[in-house]
Amino acid sequence: MDTSDEDTSLAKRILRDLRIIFDRETNLLEFDIVPVEDKTLNKSPVIFEDHRLGLESWSIKYLYTYCYHEFLKTRSHRARSDSATINELTRTLLLINPELKTAWNCRKQLVIDKYLTIQDELTFCQLLMRRRSKNMENFTHRQWLIQMMVKTQGHPDTNFINNELELCLEAARRYQSNYYAWTYRRWVVQTYAYNLNACLHEMATSKAWIERHISDYSGFGYRQYIIVTIGSLYLDTQDKLLAYEDYESILVNEMDLINDLLRIHCNRESLYLHRRFVVSQLLSIDGSKDKELYDREKDFIIQYLQIGRDKLLIERLIRWYQRFLNWNFT
């Protein structure tokens, strides 16, 4: 046998080992590539422990090359390959490289053909997300699956939505400033939970989150989206004056939260950017509060300058106020 034949049979054996695990195990918790420099003779690179699947890193190049070529072959043939092969190849390719869009799209076809159930595919996405949490293709695929599900089964229930929201938090926890995860969360709220109760609940969840992830501005960005949404929901459901009043109290509470966090954490730009957002929102509902707000911000700045805290950020804040709100602190 020459080398390439050997490589092929090695790849086939690994695929078989993986197939056995995927067929038997319905509750895979994790997949990861485990760095191992050299292969041990006659030992399979597939590790399976406690519902977790690992692949020794030396085997990746053989497995991936084989699967990729086989996959391209199935694409180029006019005659369709059988679904089982496509499922297996795309599954393996995506485990290693979840950025491969063509593979994701082939899986969509398998779902349309009802070879894969939507629920199983959602579980598979979640498994991949644990290893690569910032992966747009995965979130887009998920979005597509849910839209498919809604088409056939109707509006998802609260349990399902909560599950999706929790999944976003997990992805955001695993990868800092995970904008894709927060965008997905925004989509879930906008599409399936666009009401005051849900948004107020989101305020509480996101508060706990930013307290623990103080420099993650993607999380703050999401919070700002929720705040603005609550503002417009108030306007939709209440009398204008009352709506403004309620919105203002949300913003005032937000300012208190920022001040509390500033006391604990030094030099966090995210807090200052969030502060700018709150101040501009407050001004947008009631321009006549300009003087009052100005005085409050002036007191804050003077206090921080006196104790010499967050010097650079305070200077930037002063410049921003000067430029965009025409406030002078001299």
Binding site: L29, I33, P35, E37, Q176, I264, C266
Partner: protein, 200 residues
């Protein structure tokens, strides 16, 4: 994330150091990485103590982690490994508090002779859980006043702690504290310049 990963009480010998008690919260790491990450935290904290002067405080940045160390004049040291969001001031106050409590709980004649990671000091596990939330620090205001932040030595990387001619890669290769698996792990992470993430 505002997160404490690891705390340890370490004894600094003239050559080398011994971990008296350590505990770690590695829930945020993957299943296959946990063991190596744990070993590295121990390895790193011992290395920092060995290379720090007596009666000194330091904070060392390494990728997305921060290591804080406090070595007392009586050779007792404490180390915290946190992420970059965890407030420095709180970490250093906690370091002092840990050593104060440890000195009270464990008689000093046992420190030098204790075997690696063998001392029972459950307060440390409790601290690791409790101080995940830095707001707990409010209870320590008295200590905070004693802490002079300007005396903390700051290092931009672990490598800047090393003596001339020393290399981190060599130290890792020579270490007895690290398993073969962890050494490969380290090499891979170095190559991709990514901690605990592997890109094929």
């Amino acid at each position: 994330m505002v997160k404490l990963y690891f705390v340890a009480v370490i004894y600094k010998h003239d050559r080398g150091s011994t971990i008296l008690k350590s505990c770690a919260d590695l829930t945020s790491f993957g299943y296959f990485q946990k063991k190596s990450v744990g070993e590295f935290m121990k390895f790193t904290s011992k290395m920092i103590v060995e290379r720090s002067e007596r009666a000194s405080r330091s904070s060392i940045k390494e990728q997305e982690y921060l290591c804080h160390a406090y070595v007392r004049a009586d050779n007792l040291a404490s180390v915290i490994i946190s992420d970059q969001d965890y407030p420095n001031r709180v970490a250093h106050t906690l370091l002092s508090k840990i050593l104060e409590d440890f000195s009270v709980a464990i008689p000093s004649q046992r420190w030098a002779s204790a075997a690696e990671d063998s001392v029972t000091f459950n307060a440390l596990d409790i601290y690791l859980v409790k101080y995940q939330n830095p707001q707990e620090a409010d209870a320590m205001t008295k200590l905070q006043r004693d802490l002079d932040e300007t005396k903390i030595i700051l290092h931009e990387t672990i490598s800047s702690l090393l003596q001339r001619g020393e290399k981190l890669d060599d130290l890792v290769a020579k270490s007895d504290d690290l398993s073969a698996q962890s050494k490969v792990f380290f090499k891979t992470a170095r190559k991709t310049n990514q901690c605990c993430q592997y890109y094929p």
